[in-house]
Symmetry: D3
Subunit: 73 residues, 6 copies
């Protein structure tokens, strides 16, 4: 298991795992966060190591430089 850390990423959003789809090396995981759904693509290895499962709490972690902004056109 990976060790507990405090991480520099500005975005650490708490939610609940809603769906996990695993194919090949990767998994597509959806979290329910407030009224929104957030989708992550991570390795299958990470899903196994974190023991992620539908219905369990999890956080979406996103570095601020990876976030773009937009306006409705």
């Amino acid at each position: 298991m990976s060790q507990p850390v405090q991480i520099s990423a500005r975005n650490q959003l708490k939610g609940v795992v809603e769906e996990i789809r695993t194919e090949g090396l990767l998994a597509q995981v959806r979290l329910r966060i407030g009224g929104e759904t957030v989708t992550a693509v991570i390795t299958r290895e990470a899903v196994d190591e974190l023991e992620l499962a539908v219905g369990q709490p999890a956080l979406a972690i996103i570095k601020a430089t990876e976030v773009m902004l937009a306006r409705e056109a």
Copy 2:
């Protein structure tokens, strides 16, 4: 101005601009999205071009491969 597009990014979260801090080439922008705050670091140019301003609606756009997952330790 950039043209209106539909984009492949899985995460397109609607919120309201809460804070804009601009220094040098970049800006750090916070959106209020539901009960969460999301922080983006984008270019100052983009802030100007999109005419982002505190109190206005905006979206945070995040590619699914940029999202990590975590569990509380």
Copy 3:
């Protein structure tokens, strides 16, 4: 379908879809942009949602902080 947006990403390059290869959760899509080919790896879901197809126009969207520079050695 995702809504039309104006996005902060500095790079929004117009081209034509040249190839789509889908396997598992992902798709590898090539665009012809001027004299260059640009390759994207996105989710299969996004390909379906945007109804991307060979021969159709599309844009490659890239955040400026994701672009590296190099010189021929």
Copy 4:
């Protein structure tokens, strides 16, 4: 100086440096690539080390997983 390498990134686009703006730790560099302009934000250190200068050839290097796709709305 960094050593010559062959790199896995799918996108290696040849162009000419059009503009370099340096402030603080970063630089915003524009390349002219065919009929398009590509903008990169890299460290000032990297600009100095590669001796990038307006009018000189350079390449934009972009990992395929960092490219999103879009359609005009």
Copy 5:
């Protein structure tokens, strides 16, 4: 302070902070990790929140999809 988490990122490399340079919204931080130096650009806010300081232990966290590979030419 951010809460302790276990994170999905495949790369969690232990080192010691060697240098911190802060300008504007960002900081450029170097870690000594084994015989290598790793450079991160993160927000100044994150440096303050994690109380990073030269000589202290820290980890570099990198998502596997952000790592490219290369061969010496």
Copy 6:
């Protein structure tokens, strides 16, 4: 084959390929770098083009803006 370049990425870590797992469009490659293991997810195409193989030298290339920092909790 991709051409030899000098690249702006601040992190260019020399190691030896320890494992390659290929499934679908992608490959998960582990490098041994000093006492650490670094994991990359790149396209299968790139593995073939660079002729990466277990036991061979390779470099992990990481843009500084993609590196987060953390402290043990």
